[in-house]
C-alpha cells in the first residue's frame, strides 16, 4: 500500500510543480482495494484499470515486470513510458502484465471486457478478465449491457466497483436510484458482494474468493468496494470537514492496516517505518527515472495510426 501512497504523493508534488502534463486523478485513500486486486491478478489475466489507476498499474508492473518506473515515465509523457508517452495517465497499458489500459470515457471498457472474457472462454483459457470501475460509471449504458451479456454468456469477469462516494462532485445518492450499487448488479442475477474497501484483509479475502470462483467457471462476480477518495475536486475540497476528517484520520486504509499488523505482534513499528522509507526511496528513483528520460521523437505522433499501413497525410 505504501507503493501506491508514495507514488501518488510524489506525483501530486511533481504535478504541482508543473512537471506532469494533463490532468491528475490520484488513488489516495483507495490503496487497499488496489492492492487486493493486484495481488490476485496474474500476468496472464487481464485487467482494465479505472480512472484512479496509477497504483494498480504500478503494482502490476512491479509484480510481473520488476519495476513500476515505466508507469511513472508514461505519466511524465516520456519515451520510456509503457506507451512511449502516447497514452498518459488514462491510457497506460502493458499486455505483458495483463494491463489492457484505462479509458477516459467512463465505462467504455465495460463493453470491451466482454470480448476479452469471451475469447478466453472460447479458447478454453482459465483467464480472469477484471474490469475496475468507479461509482459514476454505473450511470453509463455499457454498465447494464455488460452485466447482462456477462451473465447470459457466463463470462469469466470480475467487476470491481470502487465506490468512493462521488463522481467528481456528484454524490452517489444523488446519481443512482438504487440505494447500493451492488443491488443494481444483483438484478442481473450475478454473484454480488459488498466489501469494506478500506480494510485490506476484507478486500484481499473478497478478491481471492471471487477470483477462485471465476476460475472455477461459475461466471461473473460483482464486488462493490466501499471507500473514499482523498483527492477533492480540481478546485479544492468540497466535502464537509467532518467527513474528510473521518475518512482521512479514522478510516485511512494504511493506518488501519498498520494498527492491525502491530496488534498481531508479527511486525514492529520500526520494521513498518523502514518499509515505508525504503518504498518512498524507490518511488523517488522512479520519478528521477521519468524526469531524466527523453521526450518522444515527434515522428512518433504519426506512427501506428493503422497496423501495417504507413501514415498518409492529406
Amino acid at each position: 500500500m505504501w507503493v501506491i501512497r508514495a507514488f501518488e504523493l510524489g506525483l501530486e508534488r511533481e504535478f504541482a510543480q508543473g512537471n506532469v502534463p494533463g490532468m491528475l486523478h490520484t488513488g489516495l485513500g483507495q490503496e487497499a482495494t488496489q492492492v487486493a486486486l493486484a495481488a490476485h491478478l496474474e500476468s496472464t489475466d487481464v485487467f482494465f484499470p479505472d480512472h484512479r489507476c496509477h497504483g494498480i498499474n504500478a503494482l502490476a508492473e512491479e509484480r510481473h515486470a520488476g519495476t513500476g518506473e515505466k508507469i511513472m515515465a508514461e505519466l511524465f509523457g516520456r519515451a520510456t513510458g509503457v506507451c512511449s508517452g502516447k497514452g498518459g495517465s488514462l491510457h497506460s497499458a502493458n499486455p505483458n502484465v495483463g494491463n489492457f489500459g484505462d479509458n477516459a470515457v467512463e465505462g467504455s471498457y465495460m463493453a470491451t471486457v466482454l470480448g476479452v472474457a469471451l475469447a478466453a472462454q472460447m479458447r478454453g483459457e482459465p483467464k480472469v478478465a477484471c474490469c475496475i470501475i468507479g461509482d459514476g460509471t454505473v450511470g453509463r449504458g455499457e454498465f447494464h449491457e455488460s452485466l447482462n451479456m456477462a451473465k447470459i454468456w457466463n463470462l469469466p469477469i470480475l467487476y470491481a466497483c470502487v465506490n468512493n462516494g462521488y463522481a467528481i462532485s456528484t454524490p452517489v445518492a444523488e446519481a443512482h436510484a438504487s440505494g447500493d450499487i451492488v443491488d443494481m448488479a444483483r438484478g442481473y442475477g450475478i454473484t454480488c458482494r459488498q466489501v469494506d474497501g478500506n480494510d485490506i484483509e476484507a478486500a484481499y479475502e473478497a478478491v481471492a474468493r471471487a477470483v477462485a470462483e471465476i476460475r472455477a467457471g461459475t461466471g461473473p462476480v460483482f464486488l462493490e468496494f466501499k471507500t473514499w477518495r482523498w483527492q477533492g475536486m480540481f478546485s479544492g475540497e468540497f466535502r464537509p470537514a467532518e467527513e474528510v476528517k473521518h475518512w482521512k484520520e479514522d478510516r485511512d486504509p494504511i493506518k488501519l492496516a498498520r494498527e492491525g499488523l502491530l496488534a498481531s505482534g508479527e511486525v514492529s513499528e520500526e520494521e513498518l517505518d523502514q518499509i515505508a522509507a525504503e518504498t518512498t526511496t524507490m518511488i523517488e528513483e522512479w520519478i528521477t527515472f521519468a524526469k531524466e528520460s527523453p521526450m518522444p521523437d515527434p515522428a512518433k505522433a504519426t506512427a501506428d495510426v493503422y497496423a501495417g499501413w504507413e501514415f498518409e497525410s492529406r
Binding site: A111, M122, E145
Partner: protein
C-alpha cells in the same frame, strides 16, 4: 443460398455469405455476433445457414446491445481473434459510436502498437425502399473524420465477397457498409477464396470527358448515367472508391488529370461529408488541370422521409448524376 456450382451468378447477399463461410472455415478465430444472425440468418439473410454449420458459439445471437456487440469485438480482437459483428441498420451505429471511435480506432495507436483490432463491423446502410428516417441513412460521413478506422463500401457482388474477405483478414478495424439497394443485385462471383485489395479504387468504366467518383449504389447509378450520356457523345469515366477511408487518392487524381472534369456522386447529405472531402482533394491536387469547378451530386440536407415520393426527391440517382455531368461539361 444456392450451392450449385454450374453457375457463378450470385446475389450481393449470397456473395457476402460465401465470404463469411470461407473465412470461418479457414480460421477458427473468426466468429460472428449480432442481433438475429443465428437461426434466423440475419435481417437480410447474410448469415443464413452459418448457424447450422458453425453452431451458437461462433454465430452468436445477442441482445439489442450495440455498444456491447462492438465492445465485444474490440476486446476479442485485442487478444487476437477476428470477430465480425452485424449491426442490423447503420442508423444504429450511434449506439456503439464510442466503441468504434474511441476504442476500435484508437487501441493500436494510443497503446503504442501493443494491441491491434482486427475486427469487422458489417452494417446495412442507404435508402430507396421507404425505410424512413432511422432505417435509410448513409453514414460514412459520421466516421470519415476518425483516424484508425477503415471504411469499406462495395458496389458489386464480386467485390462484396472479395472486399469482405480482405476486411476480415485485415489487422485494422473495418466498418463494412452494405447498401440495402444492392443486396438483391446479381453478378458473376468467382468460387472460393479471393481478395479484393483494400485502400484501392477501381475504374469501373473508362472515359475521356469527365470523371465521376462514386461509391456503393451511386456507382451503379453512375454507370447507368454514363450509358445514357455515351449516346450523346459524352464519355464518362467512373471511379468506384471501394475503400472510403483511407481512400485511394492516386486513382482519382490520375483520372481527373486525364479528363479535366470531376463529379463526385454520394448518397449521403451534401454538407460536410465524403462528397466534400473528395471534391476538396480534387481541387487541391488537380487545380491546374480542372476546366471547371468540381460538381457534387449528393443527398439533400434533410433527414430521409418515409413516403417513397418524398424519399425519391431527397436521394440522388441516375438523373441527378446526368445533370451533374452536364453542369461539369458546361464549364
Amino acid at each position: 443460398m444456392t450451392t450449385q456450382t454450374e453457375t457463378r451468378t450470385r446475389t450481393f447477399v449470397q456473395a457476402l455469405n460465401e465470404a463469411l463461410d470461407l473465412c470461418m472455415e479457414a480460421d477458427p478465430e473468426v466468429f460472428l455476433l449480432g442481433e438475429d444472425i443465428g437461426a434466423m440468418g440475419g435481417d437480410f439473410g447474410v448469415t443464413r445457414r452459418l448457424f447450422k454449420k458453425y453452431g451458437a458459439t461462433r454465430v452468436r445471437d445477442t441482445p439489442l446491445s450495440e455498444a456491447a456487440i462492438v465492445g465485444t469485438c474490440v476486446g476479442a480482437a485485442m487478444v487476437g481473434m477476428r470477430p465480425v459483428a452485424e449491426i442490423m441498420f447503420a442508423d444504429f451505429l450511434g449506439e456503439c459510436f464510442d466503441q468504434l471511435v474511441n476504442n476500435a480506432a484508437k487501441v493500436h495507436y494510443m497503446f503504442d502498437g501493443q494491441f491491434k483490432a482486427p475486427m469487422v463491423v458489417r452494417t446495412a446502410c442507404g435508402g430507396g425502399f421507404g425505410g424512413g428516417p432511422h432505417h435509410s441513412q448513409s453514414v460514412e460521413g459520421w466516421f470519415l473524420n476518425v483516424p484508425g478506422l477503415v471504411i469499406v463500401a462495395p458496389s458489386t457482388p464480386e467485390e462484396a465477397k472479395g472486399l469482405l474477405i480482405s476486411s476480415i483478414e485485415h489487422d485494422n478495424p473495418v466498418l463494412f457498409l452494405e447498401h440495402k439497394a444492392l443486396y438483391s443485385s446479381k453478378g458473376e462471383v468467382p468460387e472460393g477464396m479471393y481478395r479484393t485489395p483494400l485502400r484501392s479504387a477501381r475504374v469501373a468504366r473508362t472515359g475521356s470527358d469527365v470523371t465521376v467518383v462514386a461509391t456503393m449504389r451511386m456507382t451503379v447509378e453512375a454507370l447507368a448515367a454514363a450509358e445514357q450520356l455515351a449516346a450523346e457523345g459524352i464519355e464518362v469515366e467512373v471511379v468506384d472508391l471501394r475503400t472510403i477511408r483511407p481512400y485511394d487518392a492516386a486513382t482519382i487524381i490520375g483520372s481527373v488529370e486525364k479528363t479535366g472534369r470531376a463529379v463526385v456522386a454520394i448518397e449521403a447529405p451534401k454538407t460536410g461529408g465524403l462528397a466534400a472531402e473528395l471534391s476538396a482533394t480534387i481541387a487541391e491536387e488537380c487545380f491546374g488541370v480542372l476546366r471547371g469547378p468540381v460538381v457534387r451530386v449528393a443527398g439533400l440536407d434533410v433527414p430521409i422521409p418515409f413516403s417513397l415520393v418524398l424519399e425519391k426527391y431527397v436521394l440522388p440517382g441516375r438523373d441527378e448524376i446526368v445533370a451533374g455531368v452536364r453542369r461539369a461539361m458546361a464549364s
